[in-house]
Every structure is written in structure tokens, then in C-alpha cells.
């Protein structure tokens, strides 16, 4: 019965806010009144009769309930405030006040003229109604503060208020709300007739809703045992909680059908082939097609669609674009000619080279406007293929992926915040393994080319999702498992071939460069920054303007992060009196900025993906027509627009990244600074807050569109 009641309450809410009732609320006062009655008199008691707190708490993730909500729910102050709000002497007057205030013409007109105020009005009605009905229904864990019979006068007082208000609507001879006077007259009802009807609806059904429970309570009070409260919910709660404990970790490879496909070797080859063919198409069009970005595959597919899809997949799954990498496909083909016998020089076995290439790539992107020059885009892809074949043709393993590829580094760092990870399913199985096939390979399958030993691996750093280890493991003990995003960032210990984050300045700088570049790259596309950069060229001439632009870029992507993190590290060390050297403090905390940087990349690239998604069709059409595979002229006027929800989604992404980074920084400070946690956290938290503020400012500016003819 409780479930039915709760579902009916939800259905009532849906009818109130997402049905024609709402659509006609600004045309007919009577419709609007029905909507308000459902929000205040129907939905709240039904929801409360379903004892909602118990199933909601049981259904939420256990860690969220115990570590997130638990401390609040059991805090005496929160309990006291909650108890006060549902006390009949507070809840009743609040409900009546809300009813009366929102029906004052000024407030009512305000809600009719603004969607925001309209929502606030509904929230007020629903919120105060839940408080009002709470002492009447007394859902778990409510405790009666008044005797049961006292609910009868409580309901009657509110009914008197309802009667006075509805009587006013019914008998007043002028239209109270001018909006309804101007609205179309449906069903031939005049505005005054509509107002009287609204009053009657409020009066009759409204009074029934108050009087019916009053009557039920009275009858129960007059019969013996009618006031007993149910006590069964504690047992139910235990049962539900124990059920939620049973849940096991999600494994993508165990999903029927999909898991089999993903782990098959041909699946990766197929993905790589598709990406390789697309890359060839982009290169061909970039060199020989029209040199207008929005009309060329090289101006659209890599910069709008590939980048956008990559970050979305990284956010919701993991590093699947490294899995589909066309460069490693070409490299594997190249290895049939080049034997790859040498080992990568020891001095170069770090990320510094890749960091340098990454900075160069970002600079070239800004300086030469790669996205706007199809020829340069095509040349970059050709260069990339040549580098992959050459490096991996000479050196063993996946040297190119690990030490050279800037795109790979972007994926590695971003996938630190991904929800999926290639990981050992059952560690005890690996403890008995002597062959280490996941690392060394066997006759059938090759092992990890990046030398990641699964039992000692943690997180997604350096993992290309090639799944060689999955296929090589004879015990089938490696899967793609769900993991709390960012878990690896808090792990303090050695990881296979990655080591300890606090001892990897190259990794720390990689994360910092990517984080600051995320903001610099997005800022380079908003109107005020574009004007400022244009101003530099105008003021200093083309040559010196370009030099100052380069210096500006290097300042933001290289110097600013260094100054910021060493400054924060030094301040944190000084204020907390910490004895640890600066290097591990900086390295450890710099890694925690990966989520906020990634969130800015996602916010930025999804903007281009969403606003320019349709831009691929006319370009593909044109490309096909060039090869005689399509006849008609492409529709270059295809609609490209910014959906209303996009800015909100971008801000939410940035919020998530910032809060996540702050949480990681706090945890790191808690582990390493002891009683000086707050002071140790403060400068780092300030830096994350400053980046967030810059990010919000960027998102609020008009941004250029990519890959479209409307720029």
C-alpha cells in the first residue's frame, strides 16, 4: 500500500507540473488552482503515506548514506531544526502564510510573468505542504509531539483559512489578476467566471481534503487502539540495507554479448580500421579539398566530433579512444617491415618529452589556428602517423604511446577521472600465478606493451585499453571494472611502471599543463580574449604581436602553473610547519587538479560537439559528391544552434570537477598534514577556486563555434 501511495504521489506531481494543467496555468485561473491543489493537498500526503525516507535511504549508495547523509541525519542540531519545522505550531502557520502570500496579486503576477518565480512558487507550495502534512501522516521517523486528537483542530484551522481565501475568490466582483483578463478565453469563460470557478474548486474539494483526515482521526480516536503507531519499519530497514550490501562491482566484460564483443581481438582491429579510414579521408580532404574549415572534413571531424566524442566517452566510460587509435594500427602494420629491436633510452623514460610535445601542439593550435586550416590539420595527422611508425618501428613496446604521444597523455590524465578501469577481478588468483601472462604474453596473445603488471597496476595512467592483458590471462581474471572515479589519485604507493605520484614531477607537470591549457584553450575562443589578442597584433605589429602572443601562451601554460603550485606548496608548508620537502608536496597536490582540468575540457569540447554536430552532414555530402557518390548540392544552410540547456550543463560539469578536486585536495591534506589539515589545504583550495571562477567567466562569454560556416 505504501508503494502504491508513493507512486500515486509521484504521479500527482507529474500531473501538476508536466501536464496540460501547467501549460494552461497562465490562461485559466481555475486550471492553475487545480494545479496548486494537487501540489498542496494531493501529492504531499500521498508521498508521506509511502514513508519515503526509508526506501530513499535504502536505495541510495551505501557509502553516500553512511558517509554523506549519515552525519547530518544523526546530528542533534539538524534533528532539532527538522523537529522544529514539522512542529504543528510552525508547519501550520508556514503553510497558511505561503498560501496567502502567493495569492496576493503582486506575487501571483510575478510568478505568472517569470518561469523562475513560478518554480519558486511551486517549490514553496510543495515544501510547506510537506511540512504541514508531516504531523498529520507521521511517516517514519516522525514522533508525535501532540496527542493525535490535536490534529483535528490543526486541520480545521487550515480549512478555515482555505475557506476565507476561496470565498474571496468566489465572491469578489473584479478580476484579481490582470494576466487572466488578457489571456484567450477558452470554452467561452469570462475572466470573472473563471475566477469564481477557481474559488469554488479551492473551496469544495479543498475543504474535503482537510475534513476527511480530520474525520478519520476523530473516528479512530473514538475507537480503542486506533492511535497505535506502526513499529515494523526498523526491521524492514535492516532487510533493505542488507540487500544493498550484496551488490558487486560492475564488469563491462561480463555484460552479455557486449562483453564478448569488446574482448574479441577483431573488435579492436575493426575500430582501428574505421578510425584509420576516417583519418585517411580527413588527410585526403585536408590536402585536396576546399581550404575552408567548415566545408572540409579536416576542419570538422577532428576538431568538432572526434574531440567531443573522446571527452564524453572518457567521462562516462574510459579510455576507449586509445583502444581505437588509428596510429597504433598503422604502427602494427609498420612493424611487419621495421623489427623494433632497440630499447627506448633510459634518459628519455619519463613524460617530459611528451609534455614538451603537448605544449608545442597547444601552441601550434593557437598560433597557426590548426582548426581553421585543413591543410595543416592533414599535415599534422600525416606527421603523427610517420612519428608513430618510426618510433615504434625502432623501439620495442608501446614507446610512442607511453613517452611520445601527446594525445595519449591527454587520454591517460583524463581517464584518471573515468568510472571504468582495466583491473584484476580477484587478487588472490594472481597471487598463485607464476607465468605473469598479462605482462609477458604467451604463444597466443601478447602481454602489456606498456609493461603494466596487472596485480600491481592501479588506475588508468598509461593504460590504452588494448585489452591484451585480458586476452592473455589464462585465468580470465582481468576485466573492465567499475571504480570510483579519481580513486587512484588518492592512492599513495607504487603503481606498476608508474610509481608513486609524489615522486613523479613529470606527471605532475603533465597534469598541470593540461589543466591550465584547458582554461587557456577555452579562453582563446571567447570574445574578450579574441579582441585582446587581436589588439596585441595591432599594437605591436604582426611579428612582435606574434612573439608577445607566444610569450602570453607560454606564460599561461608553463610559467603560471609552476608559479602557482610552487607558491601554494611553499605557503602550505610554511603555515602548517610541515617538515616534508617541497617536491613531494607539489607533485602530490598537482595531480589532484586533473578533475577540474578535465571538466573544463569536457565543458569546452561538448559545446563544439553539440553546437556543430550537424555540420558533418553537408561536409560528408560534399566529400561523397567529390567522388561521384552523391549528386545533389550539400545543404550548407543546415541549422546550427546552441540549445538552452547547454550552458547549465557546462556549469554543472565544471562544478563537479571543482568539487572533486577540492575533495581530493582536502583528503590529501588530511592524510599528510595531520592537525594542520585546514591550513595545508587552504592555498591549494584557493587555487582550485580561482580556476573555477575563471572557468565560469569563460563559460559566460560568447564563444566562437567550430566546424561551421557561422563563426
Amino acid at each position: 500500500m505504501r508503494l502504491v501511495s508513493f507512486l500515486c504521489g509521484l504521479a500527482a506531481l507529474l500531473v501538476a507540473v508536466a501536464s496540460p494543467l501547467d501549460a494552461f496555468a497562465s490562461w485559466l485561473l481555475s486550471m492553475h488552482m487545480v494545479q496548486h491543489l494537487i501540489l498542496t493537498m494531493v501529492a504531499p500526503p500521498l508521498l508521506l503515506l509511502g514513508y519515503p525516507l526509508l526506501p530513499v535511504l535504502s536505495g541510495l549508495p551505501r557509502s553516500l548514506v553512511s558517509r554523506g547523509l549519515g552525519p547530518f541525519l544523526t546530528d542533534p542540531l539538524v534533528k532539532k531544526i527538522g523537529g522544529l519545522l514539522v512542529h504543528p505550531l510552525v508547519a501550520g502557520p508556514l503553510f497558511m502564510l505561503s498560501n496567502v502570500l502567493w495569492h496576493i496579486p503582486y506575487c501571483y503576477e510575478l510568478a505568472l510573468g517569470s518561469e523562475g518565480w513560478h518554480r519558486a512558487e511551486h517549490a514553496c507550495f510543495l515544501g510547506t505542504a510537506i511540512l504541514f502534512w508531516w504531523p498529520v501522516v507521521q511517516p517514519w521517523p516522525a514522533r508525535p509531539v501532540w496527542p493525535r486528537w490535536a490534529m483535528v483542530p490543526y486541520l480545521l484551522v487550515v480549512d478555515v483559512q482555505n475557506t476565507i481565501l476561496s470565498g474571496f475568490f468566489t465572491f469578489y466582483d473584479r478580476v484579481l489578476y490582470p494576466t487572466y483578463e488578457a489571456a484567450p478565453r477558452l470554452m467561452g469563460w469570462s475572466a470573472i467566471y473563471d475566477q469564481a470557478a477557481a474559488g469554488a474548486i479551492m473551496w469544495v474539494p479543498g475543504s474535503i481534503v482537510y475534513l476527511l483526515p480530520a474525520a478519520v482521526i476523530t473516528v479512530k480516536a473514538l475507537t480503542s487502539g486506533g492511535l497505535a503507531r506502526p513499529h515494523r519499519q526498523v526491521a524492514t530497514q535492516k532487510k533493505l540495507v542488507s540487500h544493498s550490501q550484496v551488490s558487486s562491482s560492475f564488469d563491462l566484460l561480463k555484460v552479455p554479448f557486449l562483453g564478448l564483443i569488446i574482448r574479441a581481438g577483431w573488435f579492436r582491429r575493426l575500430l582501428q580500421c574505421v578510425m584509420f579510414l576516417l583519418a585517411m579521408g580527413v588527410v585526403a580532404d585536408g590536402f585536396f579539398g576546399p581550404q575552408v574549415s567548415g566545408m572540409n572534413l579536416a576542419g570538422v571531424l577532428p576538431w568538432t566530433h572526434w574531440r567531443g566524442c573522446t571527452v564524453v566517452v572518457l567521462l562516462v566510460a574510459g579510455n576507449f579512444f586509445c583502444m581505437a587509435c588509428p596510429f597504433t594500427f598503422a604502427r602494427d602494420l609498420g612493424r611487419r617491415i621495421f623489427p623494433a629491436t632497440r630499447r627506448w633510452p633510459t634518459a628519455l623514460r619519463s613524460k617530459w618529452g611528451a609534455v614538451g610535445l603537448l605544449v608545442c601542439f597547444f601552441w601550434a593550435y593557437e598560433f597557426w589556428g590548426l582548426w581553421a586550416t585543413p591543410w595543416w590539420t592533414a599535415a599534422s595527422i600525416v606527421f603523427y602517423f610517420a612519428a608513430a611508425i618510426l618510433v615504434d618501428g625502432m623501439f620495442r613496446g608501446a614507446t610512442f604511446c607511453k613517452y611520445v604521444c601527446p594525445i595519449g597523455q591527454f587520454h591517460f590524465v583524463s581517464s584518471l577521472a573515468s568510472p571504468l578501469e582495466v583491473r584484476v577481478r580477484e587478487p588472490s588468483v594472481c597471487a598463485e600465478c607464476r607465468t605473469h601472462d598479462c605482462l609477458n604474453g604467451n604463444d597466443r596473445d601478447r602481454g602489456c606493451e606498456l609493461s603494466l603488471f596487472q596485480p600491481a597496476k592501479s588506475g588508468n595512467m598509461d593504460c590504452t585499453f588494448c585489452l591484451d592483458c585480458v586476452r592473455a590471462c589464462p585465468a580470465d581474471n582481468v576485466g573492465i571494472l567499475a571504480t570510483p572515479p579519481g580513486r587512484d589519485l588518492l592512492y599513495e604507493g607504487k603503481r606498476s611502471m608508474v610509481g608513486d605520484f609524489s615522486n613523479r614531477p613529470d606527471l605532475a607537470f603533465l597534469v598541470l599543463a593540461l589543466t591550465f591549457a584547458a582554461f587557456a584553450n577555452a579562453a582563446g575562443m571567447v570574445a574578450p580574449m579574441v579582441a585582446q589578442i587581436g589588439g596585441l597584433r595591432e599594437s605591436f605589429g604582426v611579428f612582435w604581436g606574434e612573439i608577445s602572443e607566444t610569450l602570453y601562451f607560454l606564460g599561461v601554460v608553463v610559467a603560471a602553473p609552476l608559479v602557482a603550485v610552487f607558491g601554494c606548496g611553499a605557503i602550505a608548508r610554511w603555515v602548517s610547519g610541515h617538515k616534508e620537502t617541497l617536491r613531494p608536496i607539489v607533485c602530490r597536490n598537482a595531480m589532484m587538479f586533473a578533475p577540474i582540468g578535465f571538466s573544463m575540457w569536457v565543458a569546452h569540447f561538448t559545446y563544439h560537439l553539440v553546437t556543430g554536430f550537424t555540420s558533418a552532414w553537408p561536409v560528408l555530402h560534399r566529400f561523397a559528391a567529390d567522388f561521384g557518390m552523391a549528386s545533389a548540392t550539400p545543404n550548407w544552410g543546415i541549422e546550427t544552434s546552441m540549445p538552452e540547456w547547454l550552458p547549465g550543463m557546462q556549469i554543472l560539469l565544471l562544478n563537479a570537477g571543482c568539487l572533486f578536486t577540492l575533495w581530493l585536495l582536502w583528503n590529501s591534506a588530511q592524510r599528510n598534514a595531520g592537525r594542520w589539515t585546514f591550513w595545508s589545504f587552504l592555498p591549494w583550495g584557493g587555487l582550485a577556486g580561482a580556476l573555477y571562477a575563471i572557468g565560469v567567466w569563460i563559460l559566460f562569454q560568447p564563444m566562437e563555434m567550430r566546424g561551421t560556416l557561422m563563426q
Binding site: 507529474l14 507540473v17 508536466a18 496540460p20 501547467d22 501549460a23 494552461f24 496555468a25 497562465s26 490562461w27 536505495g59 541510495l60 549508495p61 554523506g68 552525519p71 547530518f72 546530528d75 510568478a111 505568472l112 510573468g113 517569470s114 518561469e115 513560478h118 518554480r119 511551486h122 494576466t179 488578457a182 489571456a183 484567450p184 478565453r185 467561452g188 551488490s247 560492475f250 567499475a482 570574445a527 553546437t611 546550427t640 544552434s641 546552441m642 538552452e644 550552458p647 547549465g648 556549469i651 554543472l652 562544478n655 571543482c658 568539487l659 577540492l662 575533495w663 582536502w666 577556486g689 573555477y692 565560469v696 559566460f700 562569454q701 560568447p702 564563444m703 563555434m705 557561422m710
Partner: protein, 177 residues
Amino acid sequence: MMARLFMLVWIAGVCVAGADGGRVIGVSEIDGIRVLLFGQPDPLRAGLADLGVYLEKNGTSCLDASVGFRLIKLSAPSPDPSWAGPGCLAPGVSVPAILGHAGNKLVYSAVLGIPESGIWELAVDINRDRFSTALFELKATAPAHPLATWWPLVLMVPAGVTLFAWRSRILSRRQRQ
């Protein structure tokens, strides 16, 4: 995993189940058709605006017309461009207004981007038995700062930090006890 997915869908669902608003901001009569123009926000500002028209002939709704909106600038160009950029219309471009767009299916509506503040003329092109145009003069005020629209989302970060600090305080107090 499924529970979390369900939670996400639920939260997204809550976000879209919003309230409809908008009220009549202009009335005109052309070829026997009464045209009522609804607009939001009220008063109109530069940036995105939700406009709709209700067509009525002899007391009955006209649902078989094809309707389009055009914006024509009447006042001098304004120095303050709208932040909404890409969504804004180039003056004179016609945008179809359709019945399915609004929650109220009796209204032909579309979201228009008003490029800048000033006096605009909205031409409502109605094609029913014959083509006719109703004209409405609109005054668009300066664009609202985006923070005025998105402040609830921006507040989430300080709110999150405050709740976390509060939680830490509760836990540390409990530990001391």
C-alpha cells in the same frame, strides 16, 4: 550501477519537469484573425526569448496555419551585444513557429535570440487561407548578466563546500566526545 543510472535519469527528469510561464504581451487583429503574442521573459531582454502566438477566429483556435517570426530592428544599433551569441537571430531571418514547441499545444511558438537591446518589430507571418503579417513592437532591455540566470548552479560549489565543512565539523565534534 543501475541504481546510480536510475538516480541520474531521475535527477535529469526533475530538471525538465519545469513550469510553463509567459503572458500576453501584445494583441493584434489581421484578416479576421485575433493574434495574441505571449513572451518570456517579461519584460523582454536581449538574448534568448520564448515567444508564442495564439490565433483565434470567431472564438475558435486556428491550428491549421503555418507561422513564422521575423525580427526587424527599429532603433539605432546598441553597443551592448547579447551574451547568448550563437542562438541569436540575424535581423530579418524568418524562424518557423510551431505548435509542438510549447507545453501549450494551442500556441505557435519558437525561441528567438534577440541580438541586442532596443526597439524591435516582430513580424508574425501567418499563412492560412492567404498570407498575412501581424506586426508587434517589442522593447528589449539590456541583456541580463548570465550570472542572473545561472546563479543557482554557480552556488552549488560554495554550497557543497559549506556542507562538507559542516559535515567535517560534526564528525570532529563527535570524535572529541
